[in-house]
């Protein structure tokens, strides 16, 4: 039996498999060190960080919806300095490949974050959060404008040699055009999708279920839309794509990869099953063996559109 190769490369970041923990769904990684060996994940993406500590929104912060959930956490976080002093050394000790998700209210703040983290040992890549739907002053104004996306990515590119991965919003007509802007600006990869702006109402009380009124929808409810967006971006850019949106099992991982994702992130499913990671790896291994694939990368973008799949009831 040939050894199975699931590795993924994004610039200087080399991951043993395509499974990454999605930002905002895995704390700072260390919360999960007792239930999963962090080194076995492709990568751990930190909770979104600003320069300063942030309190986030008042509860209620989440609400369950059909096959999904809304969240409006408001990027509660400890700030980049405490992350570097308190969390990063422990992540390094666990041999986690650490991708830091950075947020900013201004272009300067993103650049400052990138500079600080570039000077820090143990950071493997930066995910640029220009797509959080839940806070007025952060990111999304860059993520919803092609010029804004190009501007923030190219400014960060100038100050860091770390792999940079802008995280794109699905709340635009054509995410692929944003993928193009990110690639043109020098991104090493793109990740998508962030959550869909959504809301839910308690009809008895005539009140929103979230204190922020609106929030981001995640979970399997969004997966078909996310797969379509990844597939569209694959037509548009050459750089690696990190796909996500409602992955619950290894078949969903494969769906994103066949659509064109080189790696994936798992978020909401980790809330339901923190032991999911080994199950996903087992499922991928089984698939590779059944299909006699030795390099998982070979299925990236391998979608055959000449005819639809035979339907099964």
């Amino acid at each position: 039996m040939t050894a199975l190769d699931m590795s993924v490369r994004i610039g200087s970041l080399v991951m043993p498999n395509p499974l990454m923990a999605a930002s905002g769904c895995f704390g700072y990684g260390l919360e999960y060190e007792d239930v999963v060996d962090l080194a076995t994940l492709g990568g751990v993406v930190s909770k979104g960080l600003f320069l300063a500590e942030r309190q986030g929104h008042k509860p209620e912060r989440i609400a369950e919806t059909p096959a999904g959930m809304l969240n409006a956490i408001g990027l509660q976080g400890i700030g980049v300095h405490r992350f570097i002093s308190e969390k990063l050394p422990l992540l390094r000790a666990r041999k986690a490949r650490t991708i830091v998700n950075i947020c900013g209210t201004t272009l300067d703040e993103y650049v400052e974050m990138a500079r600080i983290l570039s000077d820090t040992e143990g950071v493997d890549a930066l995910e640029i959060n220009i797509s959080c739907p839940n806070i007025k002053e952060g990111g999304i104004q860059f993520g919803c404008s092609l010029d804004g996306t190009f501007g923030v990515v190219s400014a960060i590119r100038k100050v860091t040699s770390l792999p940079i991965i802008p995280k794109l919003t699905p709340n635009v007509t054509s995410p692929a055009s944003f993928a193009r802007a990110a690639e043109d600006a020098g991104a090493d990869a793109i990740s998508l999708v962030n959550t869909f702006l959504a809301m839910a109402i308690d009809v008895e009380q005539r009140k929103p279920k979230l204190s922020n009124v609106v929030g981001g929808l995640s979970g399997p409810a969004i997966r078909p839309i996310a797969v379509r967006m990844v597939w569209e971006c694959r037509q548009e850019v050459k750089i690696p794509i990190v796909g996500m949106g409602g992955i619950m099992d290894h078949r969903d991982v494969l769906e994103f990869m066949i659509a064109g994702a080189n790696a994936v992130q798992v978020g909401t499913a980790n809330f339901v099953d923190p032991f999911i990671w080994a199950k996903l790896l087992d499922g991928l291994t089984d698939y590779m063996q059944r299909h006699q694939i030795t390099r998982l990368a070979d299925i990236v973008g391998a979608l055959d559109t000449t005819s639809p799949a035979k339907a099964h009831a």
Binding site: V35, G56, V272
Partner: protein, 270 residues
């Protein structure tokens, strides 16, 4: 100890009323690790709707005659979708049970233990009472409900030797009114500070009132908070409680890993 996730089987589901039930599930791996005040995250399906688990205090850790843990139970009150599904479970049905999770109650440093329960807030006190009685801590349960028939497991606590102080809103049993009434009378009668540790679980206005009373009469308190929770492990940041920190600032603390048991004097009541 890290939590475990088991596909447990329902052993029994005793409906206590139209809204309350005690669900017993074969999750000995979870029960063997559980300390009083800890919780489990449950779901009744492995499909995606409903998708998220819901948090429940471990009500009882059930042992066989040899002392081996065989099961745990939860005290459920039907309120939403998952609690409704849990109310309707039958013996033999599967339940996905992740736990134990969260910080347990701390034993009293000295003196007596006074447990204060409102309604379904009785849930964490069966295991706490057993643990306290086992180390000879004099224990009282102040227990309030809407009506007499919503006061459950009284014989269980009585048999343990726990002193019971009951209240009902309609006056059907015990003192008429809220549980904080007799609690305050008892606190007033104490001879000084730090003679009892007050443990509370129930509706948030009750917890706030209990914490304030305990503070006013110089007694430490621990409150078990209920929050909408996504994961139970600190991943999602949805279950936060505002807590005063040593530096004077109030910060949101995740009740799944920084709780659900909090020092009542540090919670900022809204």
């Amino acid at each position: 100890m890290p939590p475990v996730d088991v596909r447990a089987t329902v052993i029994s589901n005793v409906r206590l009323s139209r809204d309350y039930n005690v669900l017993t599930i074969a999750a000995p791996e979870v029960g063997a690790l559980t300390e009083p005040g800890q919780f489990v995250m449950l779901k009744t399906t492995d499909a995606s709707d409903p998708m998220l688990r819901r948090p429940f205090s471990v009500f009882e850790v059930l042992r066989d005659d040899l002392g081996t843990v065989r099961a745990i139970s939860i005290l459920n009150k039907r309120a939403g979708r998952t609690t409704g599904l849990i109310y309707g479970l039958e013996a033999g049905d599967p339940v996905w049970c992740l736990g134990p999770l969260g910080l347990p109650f701390n034993p009293p440093s000295s003196g007596e233990a006074w447990m204060v329960a409102g309604g379904v807030g009785l849930a964490p006190f069966a295991t706490l009472a057993e643990a306290l009685v086992a180390v000879q801590v004099p224990t009282t349960l102040f227990y309030g409900a809407r009506t007499a028939d919503e006061l459950y497991y009284l014989e269980f606590f009585d048999r343990l030797g726990v002193k019971l102080v009951l209240t009902t809103e309609d006056g059907g049993v015990g003192v008429k009114g809220r549980v904080t009434g007799p609690l305050e009378e008892s606190l007033k009668a104490l001879d000084g500070p730090n003679l009892v540790t007050v443990y509370a679980c129930g509706p948030e206005p009750m917890l706030a009132a209990v914490a304030r009373l305990a503070e006013r009469y110089g007694q430490p308190s621990e409150v078990s908070m209920e929050r909408t929770m996504g994961c139970g492990l600190g991943g999602c940041y949805s279950c936060v409680v505002p807590v005063k920190h040593a530096d004077g600032l109030t910060r949101y603390v995740r009740s799944c890993i920084g709780g659900p048991v909090f020092d009542g004097a540090t919670v900022v009541w809204e």
